[in-house]
Symmetry: D2
Subunit: 109 residues, 4 copies
């Protein structure tokens, strides 16, 4: 079993033991993901990036991943496929010769 | 190579070809993750969860995963380890006998 | 003094007594606003809109407003002017005859 | 009429002309606020705080305020009252003698 399948299986087991599927509609999963992304961001508030606590980042990033994987599962999306597909699309929006060394958005290149 | 290692390798290749590592400090990666989480959430705005477009969810979820994987790489965190570790900790905060069938937060159980 | 000026004056007094201006650059204020927006959203997680606690909404909405007003002050923006200006612009993007009764985005109308 | 009442009246007029109250339940307003907070944050992505465009900040901050005011109206909350009340509470969590000059969270002071 791939590592991603293993993670999702563990998340679903945890959820089903608690009978939480009833709460996990896709909209609330996206809401939960945003809340956790905000908690992750709190690791960096009023700080430079070097000053964040790795332990806090780890805890909150794990929560972000948990809801992201649950959402992928909800929509039957293969995580590797959708990320590699997005990289392909971004390669068209950000061709190396235009995007190299600049942080500009594609519509400003 | 595991799926996750393969995804991260593809993301780093994309980034390094464009010389973007200079912009990818951990704080800005967390900022980027929040922006993408907000775009994902937009799929559900003014809608019930059934009405969201799967295509839009897929596009935005891929972006969320991209920045989450880049952050994990930045801190040398193993994604499977940190998610399984968090599930273990959540198991203590949400024991089955207390948490079953309720959406209450652990401090209200 | 207008009510908005009064609120901003109280926020600045609180901040300056604590010598916190040094932390309140505009980027971290925007980060703080996002974190608070996430906490506000938590009032609604796994719930219908009727089930949210008004007390929690009030607490978190107050924090959102605090950082929004501090950001407006940082950029010398007049809150009434910028909101009324945005309403004017949105009136052009969402003309009544096209937008009435639909939640579609302006680029889908 | 106070500035805040005037802003809210203009927002409600805009909304009611378009018959949008049906979409504006409190949960979706909080979702919309998070999306706009994310767009505001995008002004600062991959940038130092000095490099953000004031025009973009103004546009997105206006949207944040719009949904924050609509939420306050939805719950019949007086914006000045709730912000001043929160400042009072924060004064207890962050007494000047402990909090002066430090960005630590109240539970770390």
């Amino acid at each position: 079993m791939s590592d991603i399948k293993e993670i999702i299986a563990a998340l679903l087991k945890f959820r089903n033991e608690r009978d939480w599927e009833q709460f996990h509609n896709s909209k609330d999963l996206a809401v939960a993901l945003n809340i956790e992304a905000g908690e992750l961001l709190e690791s960096f508030l009023w700080k430079s990036h070097e000053e964040a606590s790795k332990e806090k980042v780890q805890e909150e990033l794990a929560d972000v991943f948990a809801y992201a994987f649950l959402l992928a599962d909800k929509y039957n999306l293969d995580v590797k496929d959708i990320v590699l597909d997005k990289i392909r699309k971004n390669g068209e929006k950000y061709p190396v010769e235009k995007a190299k060394g600049t942080a500009k958005k594609y519509n400003e290149l």
